[in-house]
């Protein structure tokens, strides 16, 4: 029975749904120490003194470190390309002379228990002379208070075509200003780490929610002056992610270093309050955008200038958000001239990282808001304007003449209009549109909104997989790539099962282990597609090896052998088992009949190298209902249509898209990580950070399309991790405008019900 293309249940769920998943905080070692970070309570200030003496009054305190204790450790480096001048914007592991955001690590306490560490941390006295914080990313340059560095860490510029003539020849020029609040992924599992040093082997074992285990290992090794072989990274189950954990943060460095220096295991589990202000945040930006439009609504040019709130330091993601934000601004549309500029601005806020649909969600929000403004300016139909400007099938592959992080933006495949048509038909959207218009005509505040977008997948340079079969015929796949919870192990098992000829739920997939397979790291973690492709190659090699060996063992020269459910038999004979996979494996091992074939057993490897980025695409349509008495928005229906090229497991793709859409609704209507005028975080718990629940959220209606497989990998797979998120904020903004019959009303996410209420009142009195 073929596995690929079917919605099989996840092999990894056996443990997870029975409560037996193991997360970092579930591991513990005897004699382990607990780390607590002392964090800056002010957004900006001169750090005059750190007095740790009274921390030692607490029983069980073993060590307290300040910057002086780890002076030899360099700041956290950027992964991937970044301008050389970035050095002065990198974060020291512990603050030295200045503290630059609320939550910046200043000291680390190590104690026998978590409670003792907490108590002692409170007694570390920080003498800080507060300075005026910079909180507005669009504020003036230079920042006189922070003379050591500019307000703008980098400027990313992308362009094609002749912008001047596009705007000169335009019949209409439409301009908007929009912004996004800061938000974060805020996963169920906060950041947590556990490190143990084994002096006998001289290896630090680190359990971490690392996005890329090899990269974690290599970066930590380089920072701490250790050989690569001196660190082994293990990534157990992850409780969500979406970008909030898994980068090299100060805590990762501290825990790894402390395990060696203190010669005790060291554990750190972040609390929720800490997570909400000290873990990476993102999305904060303000944008000015202009479109040049022909008389009939044809787009001629796009000019966008964005201020990105990168926070107090440039963290590991470096220029990633700025690069993808600017490079993906053009979206699925055809036009002649483009300019996108992103200013990577420093503020006294938590350093920015990345989050689902990094850069692309921001780009989509700006572009689709602009298209809505064009629609309003021309008195046109929002679907019509988009349709008119979509790239046609014959335009693809389409070279955008842009690059992101040095990688060319060439849309590999896509049938954009086809997806729009399919979506309208599949969900009977014409009817819904009609009904929504009728309801609005009767006075209800309801509206439909849409957004179209192109996403990016296939990031990461290389993936490596080893396949082995033991003597009882069990297939094991090992990869250093992390299982981020999106179903990669199951998908790999499905692909491998079909090729090797076993049942998918007997395949064991081991992920996130640097110790079990040699892998060099690449700055960007490999995408699931890349890992699946590597697994496919390993499986194909294994199949060949198995059939060769079987022919030799059976003295069968024909090509009639097949493998089914782990047994090799002649294709045209239904009875009589010839050989099992275990027999073959045993024969290939030393002492076996075929040990002269290398004597390595039944082991193969597969490597895949990225040939370029792939560009999945999608359409989001939402229905918004506004409560006239409270201004609160409800989304009773939300549609996501998305082309993944090839869905190895359609149910997994659907759930990825649905979860992305839910996260997107949360960010558009509920969640933000704002600060006060002094830079103090406003959200410190789940009451202030209102993640919507099943009661507030709709069932997401998903259409998985496979109309445009990518030519970049043999299975034609494009990623689906982000696509549920990318356009939903823009679609909600558009739907709320429509519900209020107020084009251009939404300029900011999340949408404030108080602002909506004020708008309703203002209109009543007008």
């Amino acid at each position: 029975m073929k596995h690929s293309g079917r919605s099989l249940s996840r092999i990894e769920d056996r443990a997870l749904v029975t409560g037996r998943g193991r997360f970092v905080a579930d591991f513990a070692f005897p004699r382990q120490l607990h780390m607590r970070i002392v964090r800056s309570p002010v957004a900006f200030g001169r750090l005059k003194d750190v007095d740790t003496s009274s921390a030692f009054d607490v029983a069980g305190v073993v060590a307290v470190w300040t910057a002086a204790d780890i002076a030899a450790i360099p700041p956290i480096p950027v992964r991937g390309p970044a301008p050389a001048a970035i050095a002065s914007f990198l974060q020291p592991i512990l603050a030295r002379d200045l503290v630059r955001y609320v939550g910046e690590p200043v000291a680390a306490v190590f104690a026998e228990s978590a409670a003792a560490a907490d108590d002692a941390a409170e007694r570390v006295a920080l003498d800080i002379a507060p300075l005026e914080p910079t909180l507005d990313p669009a504020g003036p340059i230079p920042n006189v208070m922070d003379a050591a560095r500019s307000n703008e860490a980098a400027t990313v510029r992308k362009a094609f075509g002749d912008l001047g003539s596009a705007f000169q020849s335009a019949a209409h020029v439409v301009a908007i200003e929009v912004d996004l609040a800061r938000d974060g992924a805020v996963p169920a599992e906060t950041r947590s780490l556990l490190a143990q040093w084994d002096p006998a082997r001289d290896i630090v074992d680190l359990w971490a929610p690392a996005r890329s285990a090899p990269h974690h290992r290599d970066t930590l090794a380089a920072m701490l002056g250790l050989p690569r072989a001196g660190i082994a990274v293990h990534v157990p189950n992850l409780g969500g992610g979406s970008g909030a954990h898994g980068e090299i943060d100060p805590e990762d460095v501290l825990v790894t270093h402390a395990a060696r220096v203190l010669a005790r295991p060291v554990a750190w589990v972040e609390d929720r309050r800490e997570h909400l202000h000290a873990a990476a945040q993102t999305r904060g930006m303000t944008a000015k955008a202009r479109a040049a439009v022909g008389p009939d609504g044809t787009l001629l040019g796009l000019d966008v200038d964005v201020m990105i709130d990168a926070g107090a330091y440039v963290r590991a993601e470096g220029m990633m958000v700025a690069e993808f934000l600017t490079a993906m601004l053009p979206g699925p549309y055809r036009f002649k001239a483009f300019r996108g500029t992103a200013h990577v601005r420093m503020t006294n806020r938590t350093p920015a990282g990345s989050f689902r649909a990094a850069g692309r969600a921001e780009a989509t929000f700006v572009r689709e808001r602009l298209l809505d403004a064009v629609t309003a300016a021309l008195g046109a139909d929002p679907f019509e304007i988009r349709t008119r400007n979509l790239l046609a099938p014959e335009d693809l592959p389409h070279d955008r003449h842009l690059a992101a992080l040095g990688r060319p933006i060439v849309y590999d495949s896509g049938r954009y209009q086809h997806l729009v048509d399919q979506t309208m038909k599949h969900f009977s959207l014409e009817l819904l549109r009609q009904r929504t218009d009728d309801r609005r005509a009767k006075g209800e505040l309801v509206g439909l909104g849409c957004a179209a977008f192109v996403d990016v997948a296939g990031m990461g340079e290389a993936a490596h997989v080893r396949l082995s079969v033991d003597r009882i015929g069990i297939v094991e796949i090992v990869t250093a790539a992390s299982d981020l919870g999106e179903g990669m192990p199951t998908t790999i098992a499905q692909v491998v099962a079909d090729i090797v000829g076993v049942d998918y739920d007997t395949v064991r997939v081991r992920t996130g282990e640097t110790d079990r397979i040699h892998t060099v790291s690449s700055p960007v973690p490999p995408s699931a597609e890349l890992v699946i492709t590597a697994a496919q190659y390993a499986a194909e090699a294994a199949r060949e090896l198995i059939l060769d060996a079987a022919q030799a063992l059976l003295d069968d020269t024909g090509d009639r052998l097949t493998i089914q459910s782990g047994r090799i038999r002649e294709a045209d004979r239904h009875f009589g088992v010839a050989l099992s996979l275990g027999d073959i494996a045993a024969a290939l091992e030393p002492g076996g009949l075929l040990s002269d074939r290398g004597g390595r057993g039944l082991v193969t490897e597969g490597s895949a190298k990225a040939d370029g980025l792939s560009f999945p695409y999608g359409v989001h349509i939402v229905l918004a209902e506004i409560d006239k008495q409270t201004g609160m928005v409800r989304i009773p229906r939300a549609f996501v249509a998305y082309d993944v090229g090839n869905a190895v497991n359609p149910a997994l793709v659907e759930s990825q898209l649905a979860s992305g859409a839910l996260e997107g609704i949360a960010g558009a209507l509920y969640t933000a990580l704002d600060v006060s005028g002094l830079g103090d975080p406003r959200a410190i718990n789940y009451a202030d950070y209102p993640v919507p629940t099943a009661c507030e959220l709709p069932d997401i209606e998903v259409l998985v399309s496979e109309a445009a497989p990518t030519p970049l990998n043999p299975l034609g797979i494009k990623g689906a991790m982000d696509g549920g998120f990318t356009g939903i904020g823009a679609a909600i903004a558009s739907a709320v405008d429509a519900a209020l019959s107020a084009p251009g009303f939404v300029t900011h996410l999340p949408i404030s019900p108080a602002r909506i209420m004020a708008q309703i009142r203002a209109r009543e009195t007008a």
Binding site: D118, E122, R273, D627, Q629, T630, G631, M632, Y670, R682, I684, N685, A687, D688, P690, P692, T693, C695, E696, P753, A754, M757, A758, R761
Partner: protein, 266 residues
């Protein structure tokens, strides 16, 4: 023990407010007095026309009050709005009053329904306090450091009682941004003995006498309800916080009052 340890000690009932505050290290009692092992403190009784709520009666216990009648119906409905099931299984009525969150359902209910609290200290004995006099300001009551609420008494309601409750929040289970409870008797076509209060709007829940007067001995109509909602919205002095500023809370008050009144008329 309370009198011995003064404000170093705290009573622990359901722990659903106290424990989170301790986790955030905002409360740091050195002595915790666990009430949960007191026997016979979980079951309500009825006497002298009053429902008597003991210190360990949990929110969820109100969902299946054995006594029927309008009071039980009202309390059952309100209890369903408190947090989520695990919170309702643990948190107590008396604990909620002592915690005195202005948006708490039980604080609003005890004010509107005219509850009386029995409060006891080791040295001074028992005193009775009207709920309306109990709440002083946000999270602050007349309870002294050495006092414990040993019972809350709520008058039963006649069979002809009508009521309406509405609570506005962004997520199910949240504390209300504004809430309203209205209770009256239906006498022929008129409303009498009208009691209407709002919670979550000002620093303490309170009845709005102007609104009650406006409804008293009047026939219930949507028009009247709208006018009362407008009146309440202008009569209150809403607090501002992150979730809603004063102007927006005023709007939500209007919505809560008008919905509660509409629901009373079903």
């Amino acid at each position: 023990m309370l009198s011995q340890h003064g404000d170093d000690a705290r009573l622990l009932a359901g722990g659903q407010s106290l424990v989170p505050t301790m986790t955030a290290r905002l409360a740091r009692p050195t002595v915790l007095i666990d009430l949960n092992r007191i026997e016979n403190a979980a079951l309500p009784t009825i006497s002298a026309g009053r429902l008597r709520v003991p210190p360990l009666m949990r929110h969820a216990d109100f969902e299946r009050l054995s006594a029927n009648g309008p009071l039980s119906t009202i309390l059952a409905e309100l209890s369903g709005h408190i947090g989520h099931l695990p919170i309702r299984m643990r948190g107590t009525f008396c604990g909620a009053l002592a915690h005195a969150d202005p948006a708490a359902e039980w604080c609003l209910a005890s004010v509107v329904l005219g509850a009386e609290l029995l409060v006891r200290s080791m040295t001074r004995g028992v005193r009775n306090i009207e709920a309306a006099d109990f709440f002083e300001s946000m999270m602050d009551t007349t309870l002294a450091d050495d006092e414990m609420i040993i019972e809350a008494q709520i008058p039963l309601l006649p069979a002809a009682t009508r009521y309406g409750f509405s609570e506005i929040c962004r997520r199910s289970g949240d504390y209300a941004l504004a809430s309203t409870l209205v209770v009256y008797q239906r006498d022929e076509d008129e409303m009498t003995k009208v009691r209407l209060g709002v919670g979550g709007v000002e620093a303490t829940p309170r009845r709005i006498p102007e609104a009650e007067a406006m409804l008293e001995r009047r026939e219930p109509t949507r028009q009247l309800f709208r006018e009362v909602a407008d009146l309440v919205a202008s009569a209150v002095d809403p607090v501002s916080d992150l979730a809603a500023d004063a102007d927006y809370r005023r709007e939500l008050t209007r919505a809560a009052v008008s919905r509660a009144l509409d629901r009373s008329f079903r």
